[in-house]
């Protein structure tokens, strides 16, 4: 249960980060608080969109789905439901793969780092590890 709680908490923080980047992307926020990073350079690059959709919006949708799924998995009736663990692990794996792709773009193509993107990458990586741990635990407790 503690793993799913951690996933829910991480997904919520990730959702806030992705929403922040998305609001910037659509012009609601005029400036990113980035310190010495290159957030605006990364966020205004062509790689900040995929198939015409802001990458941050994929993050919003992904984190929101993880959040909803995690909250559902916390309900007593679904606490020991392995399907929730499988879905969480599958979604987190897709998210982790996407994160790897975006981080590679930052490091090897743009040569710039967006701190908020790093924050999201850390959150997604932790979520992925926790979801695998949850899946493994469910498998070991399977009847």
């Amino acid at each position: 249960m503690i793993r799913r709680q951690a996933i829910v908490l991480l997904a919520l923080v990730g959702l806030l980060v992705a929403t922040y980047l998305w609001l910037y992307k659509i012009g609601v926020l005029g400036q990113l608080q980035c310190g010495t990073g290159s957030c605006e350079y990364v966020q205004t690059s062509r790689y900040a969109e995929l198939l015409g959709v802001p990458v941050a919006l994929y993050g919003v949708v992904g984190y929101a789905t993880l959040l909803g799924l995690g909250l559902a998995g916390l309900q007593p009736a679904m606490a020991s439901d392995r399907r929730v663990s499988v879905l969480l692990a599958a979604l987190a794996t897709v998210g982790f793969g996407f994160t790897l792709y975006l981080t590679a773009i930052e490091l090897f193509v743009l040569h710039a780092i967006c701190r908020w993107c790093v924050a999201s990458a850390v959150i997604m990586t932790a979520t992925w590890v926790l979801s695998l741990a949850d899946l493994r635990r469910q498998a070991s407790h399977a009847p």
Binding site: L12, V13, L23, T44, L74, L110
Partner: protein
């Protein structure tokens, strides 16, 4: 478990509050403001008109400046028709983005990237005629990209140019040139290298150019 949900609500409220607060603040700097390094390519600005025109007018302008937009949309069409198309004047455009404008350097960069594909003046016209982008205070990247699409640019090349800030040095060199010539505001004009102090009106330019042409003869 109750404590956990309280924690979630707390995080959501604080995070949502920060986002709301951020959305209420006035937007500030330009996206990917070009790196201020001097140009090394010796670029002297895009020109319009015959190379053999007896008079050259250099304009220092800022795409976000409302006076520049007004000049470009009201006076410039007459100047193009009466002075440039007739071979009397060669017009040279120089960037002078004012530091008080959040997105003028970004707009200048968009124009330079259009220029790379031979469409500087098309982008110049788009930026000035559809000037609403300068009044919203919002990130105009998408709007500029729409302009680029509208004038028929290769968007992959345009994106690559914008991402790399390829012509940031040109813009900075143009600013330095303007400062060296004591440009204070925009639009500012130089006629055959001399500062023009008259009104920014097509009639006044025409009168001056006609007088210069007579002297030349």
């Amino acid at each position: 478990m109750k404590g956990f949900y309280l924690l979630l609500v707390g995080v959501a409220v604080v995070g949502g509050g920060v986002l709301w607060y951020g959305s209420q603040r006035t937007p500030a700097p330009a996206p990917s403001a070009p790196v201020p390094v001097a140009a090394t390519d010796g670029f002297r600005g895009y020109t319009m008109g015959s190379d053999s025109a007896p008079t050259e007018i250099t304009e220092y302008s800022d795409f976000e400046c409302p006076f520049c937009a007004s000049f470009a949309t009201v006076q410039m069409p007459v100047i193009r028709e009466q002075l440039i198309a007739t071979g009397k004047v060669r017009w040279r455009y120089r960037d002078f983005p004012l530091p008080t404008h959040a997105y003028s350097r970004y707009a200048a960069l968009a124009a330079q990237c259009a220029g790379e594909q031979g469409k500087f003046w098309d982008m110049h016209d788009q930026l000035f005629t559809s000037h609403q982008w300068a009044q919203t205070g919002k990130n105009p990247r998408g709007v500029f990209r729409d302009f680029a699409r509208g004038i028929g640019l290769d968007l992959d090349k345009y994106d690559a140019c914008m991402d790399s800030q390829r012509y940031a040095g040109r813009i900075q060199a143009s600013v330095q040139e303007g400062e060296a010539r004591s440009v204070k505001g925009t639009p500012s004009f130089y006629v055959n290298g001399r500062p023009y102090q008259g009104r920014s009106a097509s009639d006044d330019f025409k009168a001056l150019v006609d007088s210069l042409t007579k002297k030349h003869k």
